[in-house]
Symmetry: D2
Subunit: 419 residues, 4 copies
């Protein structure tokens, strides 16, 4: 393993490589292989990007054909046949069956950029400035999206005040049960010092924030409050969407009707960048052409592989498998929690985003190393890394999933002993 | 040509497609072909991304091999063999020959994100907030980089105040000759209402802003002023770098020593997204691991093709060709300007970024349509689109270049007649 | 009555004159007389300034002597014998008996300026920016104090964002019972998106905000939370202090220990301007000489009359009278409320700040006119003027007080009939 | 001299008392007397308030009569006979002869409050946020006016960003000769990153900023630029107005037509607080009643003495005397400067605001002490106190003026020797 090149020339900011001290050479399905030939089960999936695994064969084939045919790899927002295929297929598989007529907006291919665009549109559509975001929310790293992100470990790097956001506690945070009602009352009080917001920006499952699951009832309260005050209801589905929770959107089946939905991560299928917002037409019409540009907003490879990824959602089989495997993950995590009753560990999650909140970031850091040594990759999340988040590729084979959970259990035992 | 899918389902924000009313099906070298089989010479190069043309054969080959070998397409900031190859090669070809020891920082793959990261680092390294940016500068669309961008057509979409930027006129703008001296004097005056800035953020050639070319002398003044006041000197080389102006960096040979250099666009070689900053080690050490994250910051495809792109810079031949072709472009543009002496048209540019400032956005819009009809693509820039910017792929064949310039000349005649 | 001069030459912004359509010529004790010789009982006391009535004989005498002796009327912050007398007497009568060693700071003679100075000092002493203020709070009209003021009817005139304030509901506002606990929990949560504040700025009785009375227990919670997080505890006693609630400070006897107390209004005794903060020495030492200046910060006339006013507080008799008269006011208001059981009117207050919350600004506006016609002056407060606030001079004669309350009762009957 | 009371109980922020280490007991005309009976000639006039000297006999008489007649000392913005007399007289003496129909607006009695009100009105009238202010400008200490103040010694105490101001160099500052033209060009450039401002806020003579005198031509350029862009032209005449420069307004006779004029300091005549803006009717109508309130905005004593002060301006004699004495001051200062040709001292000023810029704050501090020891009071101004500013009462007797200048000359010699 030769990492000197990185140590000598790459920025001190590099992070995950410090927890996975090896050099990966290839990857396939739910496994990555390093240059020594060691294989790792991947419970991290590129931070929730690789829902369909590494190098999915059908996508790989489509990408190679695209390259060989001199497809248009980079098109900004000009029209290409590849893009048309993707848009058409997305409408057919996702929007039409749900009776949704949202418009697809492509922007610079990062989730952060999707959130920035949604914030601009919400402000333009309402003529207001303040956006309500929630504690433990994660929405990105650029100044607009970072203002909506709650974690101070990220916020303090802004170097400037992060403004025009009003922060409320998320449903599962302290005060989360009463905060919406109180805020609703304050909005009706002309001496509250508050003006109505442009939008409410919320995750259905807060992934980076610690796998905090909102209830449909609470989400409806948020939506109702937005409607009542002429604010937009925006769902950030960047990490929880595209099948992760057992449905295409994380909010499917809840009867919600968001004005804007932000998507990225798993949308491109293969791990190539793409970001896309779904805007209701009556909101979308507030845009002027070119109002929010971005060089890499027309990515042929992502359209090609992303179109293949939509095939997973044409019948129920795939998502049923996600729910089954999610249940298997949850059962194992609960058994682990139950085996340590005095520690107060809590299991949370939906579909194949399942988590064990140990409340102990130091323990989880040791666990991450123990897992790595045993051939399992995962990433902690939540404040101080207090939550063990498991987000394997949705296509993981049952054997790999079981083996990974076995490793986790053994590694937990080892990490506890270390203390 | 079927564009109904886009019209029915894509956002109103789409822009370039309105000026290029067709559906592109493939692309190669300096040409794009639409689904009717019509071929277009490309003087736009994906907004300056495709310096090495569409589907460059060596890159295409390397990408297909990478895909077939199950390379790691998406790696965040874990180590991969592919990334190591890129980092090593970049150091060997670009940094080492220049005696530079800057650290490579990868972030979310947009130029905007590179600028956001540079702004964070400058603020963290200095403990200051305000960053000096220049009129006509373009640095991105997210709230931090948008604050540095000057064009009001973009700024007004922020919906919130864009702050913590002090704006000075660029060298070529009104007052640009005296502004630095006056600002220098004000910084020494305790009653100027000004504090020393965190950084000066400048483009050597303002591409989107109208192809405004800074002189080495003025850039040295900026750098000296930064040094004098403990501020960082940051060059945004996103559009002008990677060979565009006839040298790898746009500032090569000027004796400048920037603390941070932002790169993106052409860096990935093929049009797949990547962004990278070069930070001096003494600045870079102010980062903590994970201080500025981003999902798509480890793009295997861009590392692979970007490494191939570096081969162009191992000897002088390629850049000499760029300078020759640039001279050819300039000569033709000057002849066009000279043929209309009463119009006050001005030719500007460096290397293969050459421009004709007609001062007339309406004329240029007509011209864009006339060119499209004749099989040539280009994009206007500058305030109100007043500048005809020509940025063909650097690898364009002389015949294509000559044909494109012929078309331009004919189209100008037609556009003038329309008025 | 000739008001043409005002109508022709004074700004449209003039307000109270529209509700009291006459020209006052003289005033004495709790009565004002207009140029037609009509006498009005004053239940408004110059917005809470005239605690000791109009033209108090002892103060008048002292002022005339001061003028005749060529006293220093305007001294900035140079030392004068008159100022020394005031400072000495204030220490003797107010601070020493309470064991307080706060430092006296004089500034531009408005309450708004006192609040601005307190905010600066809190920010300088803590190195933090955000200040917690409460819904329904009123702290002034200049940009710093206006940011702390809650009423949107004032805030919207700022024309710029009012920032660096975190707003919590006041104890008596919706959510006021749980807000402090939730905020306390959030401050301990590193993913709450919140940083510890510089200060908590609170009124013990919100006068302009609707005569909302905080409990000692809640105020202790605020103070404890401030202490726990290294923030200052600042009491704005500008309207409720100087005897108004039946004690010198509105928080006397509660065991509270504020770091800064803002005073103005009644402090000068006679109605001439003065403002003063009391800063704990360990906080005060963060000031540098001249850090917050102000032309009119040394007002000889206010020092002279303000010193006389301190005589009221050398024994208990005066304040006992305030409490008795306050009780009388409250009893009458309660009887009025009880006489209209279906209207849900609420009586609130402390000492001689007593109020009837009718919830009906339009009714109160009619009432104000009916009272004026009958020879009684008062001013509504609270959102939309929903609260009838009675703040007669503390020295009002029992007969005048009774007569004023009779008028009020009769006017209420008339105002109700009008509807 | 007993100053222990101050040292023990007053805030550390006290400033002037440190330079004038005595306790003043009385004052008359241009002289103050301390409790040891020492008499000081006053070249400071309470920071420019006491244009008519201390305890002017006619004002004193009027004030005593007012007090004895139980005049309404504190009236908010209700109508009083006293206020009517003032308004009427102001119109008669100041506005009518100039053909001005500005409306008089009274606010909290500080210059800072006048500026805050002007800024609110300018923002409300234009719907814009940014206000252009100038380097070396001084406009007050509250957050809105402080943002417009340039001196960093004051600004850094804000503790929060001071925003919504665009700063240009004053005419006499470096770059001041070209800045307006460059700004004008930038406002026409849609890629300048600038929007048109709400107002230009300017002093005709910058008093605190170092006695910098603007030319009529430059002021017209400011006014023209404001008009061209729909911005208001606001003159802050708080220190330079009310006769100080030899005319009632500092801009009399220049053909200027400001939309708003801010006044305070000398307006009340006697040193009691008052502030007033003059708003053009078409601007003033943007106010709603009560939009900007303030407790002490109706000061009977200031109306009474301020009306007497207007008598000075009913013929030319008084102002001619101001010009003569100003010339005498200037001649002496120039002689002093000429006597030290190697030091590069500069004399500046208009009327009876005359200054010697020694460029040496340490020297001036020594000089201040030397003057005090010899019985002369003055205050330095400008960055670091580099300017000796002389602003004696306009009514100073020729003998006192000559004696003060003699003392100054002797003290300069002594201060130079100390170095």
């Amino acid at each position: 393993m030769d990492t000197a090149v990185f140590e000598n020339h790459e920025s001190e900011i590099r992070g995950y490589c410090r927890n996975y001290p090896t050099v990966f050479a290839s990857a396939s399905g739910a496994r990555q292989v390093d240059e020594q030939g060691r294989s790792y089960i991947d419970f991290f999936a590129g931070a929730g990007v690789l829902n369909f695994g590494h190098n999915h064969p059908a996508m790989k084939k489509a990408l190679i054909e695209f390259l060989e045919a001199d497809g248009v790899a980079h098109s900004l927002d000009t029209y290409t046949t590849t893009k048309r295929d993707f848009v058409e297929r997305f409408h057919e598989v996702v929007l039409a069956p749900r009776g949704m007529d949202h418009r697809l907006q492509f922007m610079g291919p990062t989730g952060s950029n999707a959130v920035e665009a949604a914030m601009k549109l919400a402000r333009a559509a309402t003529g207001r400035r303040e956006i309500v975001a929630f504690s433990h929310g994660f929405h990105g790293m650029t100044l607009g999206s970072l203002a909506a992100t709650a974690n101070d470990a990220f916020r303090r790097w802004a170097g400037v005040p992060l403004e025009n956001i009003l922060r409320l506690p998320f449903e599962t945070a302290p005060g989360g049960d009463t905060a919406l009602a109180e805020y609703a009352a304050a909005l009706k009080d002309p001496s509250s010092g508050l003006l109505p917001p442009a939008a409410f920006l919320v995750e259905v499952v807060q992934a980076e924030g610690g796998v905090n699951v909102a209830s449909p009832d609470w989400l409806h309260q948020v939506q109702d409050l937005a409607r009542e005050h002429g604010a937009l209801f925006v769902i950030d589905d960047i990490q929880a969407g595209i099948g992760r929770t057992g449905s295409y959107f994380s909010f499917d089946g809840m009867g919600l009707d968001p004005d804007i939905i932000t998507l990225a991560k798993g949308l491109g299928g293969f791990g190539t960048p793409i970001a896309m917002n779904l805007n209701k037409p009556e909101v979308d019409r507030h845009w002027s052409p070119g109002a929010h540009t971005g060089t890499f907003r027309g990515q042929g490879l992502s359209f090609v592989a992303g179109k293949v990824a939509l095939d997973f959602f044409t019948d129920d089989a795939f998502l049923e498998g996600v729910l089954e495997k999610g249940e298997q993950m949850r059962t194992r995590l609960q058994a682990i929690a139950d085996a340590h009753p005095d520690r107060g560990w809590v299991v949370r999650g939906r579909g194949m985003m399942q988590a064990l909140d140990t409340g102990d970031g130091a323990l989880n850091a040791r666990l991450q190393r123990e897992c790595f040594d045993r051939g399992l990759l995962f990433g902690p999340c939540g404040s101080g890394g207090r939550v063990i988040k498991l987000i394997p590729p949705l296509i993981i084979e049952p054997d790999d999933l079981a083996e990974g959970l076995d490793i986790l259990e053994a590694a937990i035992a080892a990490a506890l002993e270390e203390a």
